[in-house]
Point group: C2
Chain length 505, copies 2
Amino acid sequence: MSAPDRKPPAQLAVRRLGIDTQSEPVVFLHRNNPVSHAEGFEAHNRVLLRAGSREAIATLFLVTDDILADDVAGLSEAAWRRLRLAPDGHVTITHPRPVDSMSLVRGRIYGHELAENSLHAIIRDIAEERYSNLEIGAFLTACAANPLVRDEVRALTRAMVDAGDRLSWNADIVADKHSVGGLPGNRTTLIVVPIMAALGFVMPKTSSRAITSPAGTADTMEVLAPVRLGAADIHRVVEREGGCIVWGGAVRLSPADDMLIRVERALDIDTEGQMIASVLSKKIAAGATHLVLDMPVGSTAKVRDAAAAKALTDGLLDVAAAFGIHAVVVTGAGDQPIGRGIGPALEARDVLAVLRNEAGAPENLRERALVLAGALIELCGGAPKGEGIALARAVLADGRAWAKMQRICLAQGAMCEPPVAPHRRPVTAARDGRLVTIDNRKLGKLAKLAGAPEAKVAGVDLHVRLGDRIAAGMPLCTVHAEAPGELDYALDYAAANEAMFEIVA
Amino acid sequence: MSAPDRKPPAQLAVRRLGIDTQSEPVVFLHRNNPVSHAEGFEAHNRVLLRAGSREAIATLFLVTDDILADDVAGLSEAAWRRLRLAPDGHVTITHPRPVDSMSLVRGRIYGHELAENSLHAIIRDIAEERYSNLEIGAFLTACAANPLVRDEVRALTRAMVDAGDRLSWNADIVADKHSVGGLPGNRTTLIVVPIMAALGFVMPKTSSRAITSPAGTADTMEVLAPVRLGAADIHRVVEREGGCIVWGGAVRLSPADDMLIRVERALDIDTEGQMIASVLSKKIAAGATHLVLDMPVGSTAKVRDAAAAKALTDGLLDVAAAFGIHAVVVTGAGDQPIGRGIGPALEARDVLAVLRNEAGAPENLRERALVLAGALIELCGGAPKGEGIALARAVLADGRAWAKMQRICLAQGAMCEPPVAPHRRPVTAARDGRLVTIDNRKLGKLAKLAGAPEAKVAGVDLHVRLGDRIAAGMPLCTVHAEAPGELDYALDYAAANEAMFEIVA
């Protein structure tokens, strides 16, 4: 066929629009933009942006108004960051190559099991941000509708590890810990790590920030010390102190996992296979050899009952074994928060109270941390079966854990005391009676409405425990906020959701 | 609990930003906007916009730059239209009520069949635009991974009908026609309707615009006459002339269907049950009693082979019967376009050539239209079995169909001649040989790149048929475009995709 040779795509000047679309790159073009016309783009097309050797797939919005000149490309923050543009930079915009691995996802939808190389192709494309959220949603839904078989879970785990970076350690035993989410508070990590490190174990802990919860471990640790460390700094801290508690996001461990989780939360679906691959891929990538898994079980926790706990435990241990990881699952009551504070600064305050052996420190946080540390000590060969918890208790009681925590914080860059919110108001009981249930999900939402985790000081301070006798007018919790508007808003929510605390006469 | 009463949400002034996001409502707020702060909104939240009694659920983008003042809400075109705002209008923005029916979708993902009232709840929420594309994608994926059973298909069809408006007719027999897509050209509707109406049958045809194809029947008819008629005008035309060919979008027949199809196309998945409900819900809502279904079968058509045709036919006839519709499926060769033109004006030109009995009229378009009209005449009792096609041929040959078509166009508002594109260039054969395959999908894409259907005159004019002897340099088709840039771009695509026409020595 005769036709002119393909011309190189035109360069467009860029404009940073300062639009936060979270992780979704968006490019705005004027409808009269010659590139849009020539390429046959329509609004909501997915387009390929290129700047030098960097690429991003973005959603296209067409502008008909004069907010954008017709010869520039306006970029959302996510697009701007991904392309690492300068204000005088240029981009080319073309149709993206088709994402071949979506045909494998379609095959999975129609019932074909995914082979290891197929899962690698899918996860690589997801990690390279070639998939739209809609496509990721279809993959997750397919894996929920016809659950991943064990071979697929192992292959998915390996694919997720291979799609990112890995940390490696000059030690035979590398201890690690993970909580299978769902409970507010629960900052045992900040107690377990200094205990283990004080005992001479290597425990380089990488943690996540909150996605939909009021605080992730990294958010809480950040109240006490810097957490955004690169791989070299992490190694330096661990070589010096044996342990660290840092944000995993700076070292790109299993990056596809973050994208899957974001969509999973938006759809509010989760699947056992996906959860197993998510947890273990991060631990394998972080170089763990010995792993304690904290699994709260309760009606408003992630794991609802004993049967679900058993199934998930079997799956986790099977896949961990396949990767040579020694793992143990420790279940526990998941019917109420662990500790009193919910939100970064309030949780950090609880952790410090335990580490400093203060009289009023939350007992359930201390005991849960000791149980987990004890199990991990035994798993790592640091104590005979049944004697780990006593060793952990001794290290905490004599101040070695607190001393270690201070050294870890300083090695990470600084040690700070948690600040206190300027605006605080109690939520009080409307009746007399006994407290019989606490809705963890609603309590988490209350803390978020108060501003957590963006406002470190914001959150909820819980004053009651299940079984407590309650008198009308008594404060059940105190909402902490940085601004009076947020405080009002959170209290409105509390008033409209009295069932958060169920009090029975 | 004590807490202040809930304040009414604050009113924000609006600004129309002229941003085309297709069907997705988007609202832009400055990060410092007090509403965003108070409500705890994050970027990419789904928020509820209210203006008077109108509502829209929108995606929220936060702006940090000065392109937007911090006390206004900037709206995309879809949001602006849905709320029918005036430039001095105001909106409130709050968290949307949770979409309860998503829990039913999650149940379907985990394998629970959907009862009739569950499907009603899901489809009603989709029709009211409460679902995000991600959520619609999860519903479709679940229905593909574990296919809808027959009862679900019937219930889905009924739910889709009930979620929209219905047309009703003062006639015992209401004829209708539908093509189970996938073939470029194929504008038999514009020939079948005037034949049926000329014979005295009632045939009120509502058609769609293109979604991903270079032209829908409504786009092609719009070249000849206005198609955007409301229900009262449709009734007036049909009472006077017995038939019409209008765009169905103005009368809200099965509105959920359009949203499902858009997401289905984006994911490139389709499911038989969904397709059956899609086709029949539109026909039931349009008041059809007798329906001919055109089903092209071919490797690049929607229905790939005889087995798929059989399964789809069984499903369509079963559900049609459940709703009291007399239906017949007419399969036919789907290996190449029907007619020569692809694109609104070129297809309209072909239709007129057939209706006017011009010497060079495309024979395959005429014959396919006569086969379908014949089957429909027989189904409606207008001729004994086997004699419908002769009756249709007579009505076409003696000019009654053409006369009726002119009256229908005039009743719809005007009768126009198709315009011709100012820029045209041929795609020529690179070698001698015989033409053995035509890739319908690539040919459709070529017409779209040339500008169809937005540019009515744009498209592809095909000069060859399967089996033709081809000489190198001979024109295979001519690309028509409104602008030289689009012409270049389409020809680039043709040059890069020679396999569109397979020529074997």
